[in-house]
Subunit: 479 residues, 2 copies
């Protein structure tokens, strides 16, 4: 039996969360380390998960009129330099192509860390009149950011993502699009990934390099650390001015357009792992699980067992991603562990006694519950169980998020909360960069966002400086 | 009215085929030139076409057990150097990353021109026992090859493709997989792209760098030039030996595995354009057309017209990619030209007189035929017309291929055929590299492949050297 196929022990979360994570991502074959430092290989099981996530987002984007395109991988250095804050934000972490086709290049080309600059250069060429607007384009691609410390899915030198880039006639329209997309991000995370998120605006410090305003969704992991899971930027006219994106307006005058950009990435897979996983491994939310159910025959050498298992699989596979595992090199017990580790939402057992009684047994990954199901009701019941698991996983994650969210009126409470129950800290903030910096210095917690829902903190002063403060902000240590 | 939105004249094919091609790809907004030399921007209309092509291939691959993965964009120089022929074939045209994260790299990394080397390095790590085999993985990604002369879709410094990489226990299994995929390529081209192809084996000269054998599908364009449209390689044990991909076999001895690789790319879009297009622009095969039908209201300001057009669109859009164009900035006549140019298979006209009679008018892009259709039969009729167009486009393309295929028994006939009716030349070939080289030198025609169907040439001697020859080969000038 090959090493890769053994169900190996996963380090427990409580013992070492970071090792638990590494064990889970590698042993379930979501991902592997590549020979190029900081670059990961997304294996078939991980990529199937990404395809399901992609498919949901892609449909949602398209419903709002967004179309997909593809822009060049390489960006001339001079383009990156056009927006001042943008180049400062990105140039330290880009990879440069300096030689190609056997020659030294006249101008260095960077591998896109994000594509605002190259896309804006095209938009400038395409835009003539207000009648052409809005531009609503997105691309699915890989980007490269030369990170020093890397972790599969969470922070890697290369990752897969989507980047949407829109152009509008007015600032207000750009703002509306920014928030419309942010809401798609929230909705997909909650409804499909079963991952509750805090929705709000980033502080100036954490804003995207070159943006007018950045909004984010922030999820909370089992270890109490936050994960920025998607961002949507209103770029105002910063990029349109830098790239001369102008149009002839309704009043026949030439004017600058307004733009947005927004992205989610394979980082979301890290979120799914750390929000839902447990010491047995992954727990896949049914709606995006690569395998939603696995049929495991018991005593499969006995007459009729394989046949019954096949019929059951076929019936379920009409509407669901259900597979049969009738590999006789492994025992049912080994398979139970394997698919539990891989987070398959439902295991379906069927053996000679079940067949006699015209039944099978569903075992839920989320609760461990065993449910005896009449074979003729299997399809209907499976649909119910899929919904029940999806809903239960969201509720459990929401409960965890609430339990790990504390309120602090001053820094003593802040530090105590972070020490005793690591997670989100809600606190009033005066809005100044200095307080934000000091809080990070003292506690390691960063300002995640200023949530749209401004409720639950009674204090009327900044948690750090004690001056009058209006805004509630979420703080946390973060990935 | 913005310049991009005008229906502009397309240079006629007969006048200048190359300009016709450029006009068609840019004016229909399939693609645009980017500011990075040799790199293209695939615009929304072109990308939608690519998504439809991808989706068909992806389903076919998955039916045969292939799963998608994602491997790193960058490959260490030392990896590229491991397979001798491979490095010779690819190193002149790669792009090198030499600096990243603010530092000079110790080892240059190339942007993948193809991923055999990085993927093999992972396979070597993953493979232990014959029980792990076969490995059946594919990735959809972009690759970079620094070409000197570029043309949108046909030859660009960056293009999108899929690359499949499989590993097998025996040479025979690898060979079977190579041919199984080649047959998928043929089938999808014929059945979905309506593009007939010649299926066969490449000569040693044209073999993929490092392959044991390369097979291709070759299509014929309107100008009589061939387009290599997909290749499938049996890599034998060349890469498995170079990358130490070994396993413990059934007989308990360690042995090298056998591997394959295969790919199709955005080049297929170039094929669709040049096989089906005419002087009015594109003709999209219905099965992969981004827009299968466009409803154009006539006299849309009159009462009831827009409503009727919307109802008709909704009914058709349940099962088809049908859109309504009720933009009142443009006349119906302008729209007719626009969608004709974009190759939309069916235009559906509906005006006050049609509504009175309870009908609409279908206009076929392939034949120009106008068909009056009762509104209650529109959906059924649309399905029929889709099939009829798909079939007619394939038959027309096949007719063209046959008409442009000549037979030559000697070089005089060869040159005459190529001069008078440019296209494929079928001829006997002795199998030697020298004859192949001389034919190219004399005529510019290259050996496209040795077709599986060895019929239609009576001569028993090589078209060049006159020595006895068994094999029939296809020659053509090619993109």
């Amino acid at each position: 039996m090959s090493k890769d196929n053994q169900v190996e022990a996963i380090t427990s979360m409580e013992e070492d969360f970071s090792r638990w994570y590494t064990d889970v991502v590698t042993k379930t074959q979501l991902v592997d380390y590549s020979p190029v430092k900081g670059f990961m290989v997304i294996r078939a099981y991980g990529y199937a998960l990404w395809e399901n996530i992609q498919s949901v987002f892609d449909k949602e984007f398209k419903k709002t009129g967004v179309q997909n395109c593809y822009f060049p991988l390489l960006i001339p250095e001079s383009f990156l330099n056009k927006e001042k804050e943008h180049v400062e934000g990105f140039s330290p972490e880009v990879a440069w192509v300096t030689e190609a086709g056997g020659k030294k290049l006249e101008e260095r080309l960077c591998i896109r860390p994000t594509s605002e600059t190259i896309i804006c250069s095209m938009y400038s060429k395409w835009l003539k009149s207000y009648r052409d607007l809005p531009f609503l384009y997105n691309q699915w691609c890989s980007v490269v950011r030369w990170e020093k410390t890397t972790r599969p899915f969470l922070r890697t030198a290369e990752f897969l993502w989507q980047e949407g880039h829109t152009v509008h006639e007015t600032f207000e329209e750009a703002q509306n699009k920014t928030l419309e997309i942010l809401d798609i991000y929230r909705r997909v995370c909650e409804d499909f990934l079963a991952m509750p998120v805090i929705v709000g605006e980033k502080s100036e410090k954490e804003r995207f390099a070159g943006a007018h305003a950045t909004y984010s969704i922030e999820a909370l992991m089992h270890d109490g650390q936050a994960l920025q899971s998607g961002t949507s930027h209103n770029l105002g006219d910063h990029f349109t001015k830098a790239f001369d994106i102008k149009f002839l307006g309704r009043d026949n005058t030439e004017q600058y357009a307004y733009s947005t950009s927004w992205g989610v990435s394979t980082r979301l897979i890290g979120g799914i792992i750390m929000v839902h996983g447990d010491n047995k491994g992954l727990k896949m939310p049914p709606k995006i699980a690569p395998i939603q159910g696995v049929v495991i025959p018991i005593a499969q050498h006995k007459e009729g067992v394989i046949d019954a298992a096949k019929r059951l699989t076929q019936a379920l596979a009409v509407d669901y991603r259900v597979k049969l595992d009738d590999n006789d090199s492994y025992t049912p017990g080994w398979k139970f562990n394997e698919y539990e580790m891989k987070g398959v939402p439902v295991r379906i057992e069927i053996g000679p006694k079940d067949i006699e009684k015209g039944q099978c047994v569903f075992v839920r990954r989320d609760t461990g519950e065993k449910i005896t199901v009449a074979l003729e009701e299997a399809v209907v019941k499976f649909a119910e169980v899929m919904e029940a698991i999806q809903s239960n996983m969201y509720q459990s994650a929401l409960k965890m998020l609430h339990e790990k969210t504390g309120v602090a009126n001053n820094m003593e409470e802040f530090e105590k909360a972070l020490r005793e129950n690591p997670g989100f800290i809600k606190a009033k903030w005066c809005g100044c960069r200095e307080c934000e910096d000091k809080i990070k210095e003292l506690t390691g917690a960063t300002l995640r966002n200023v949530p749209f829902e401004q409720e639950g903190v009674d204090s009327e002063v900044c948690v750090y400086c004690g001056k009058p403060a209006q805004k509630i902000a979420y703080f946390a240590r973060a990935y």
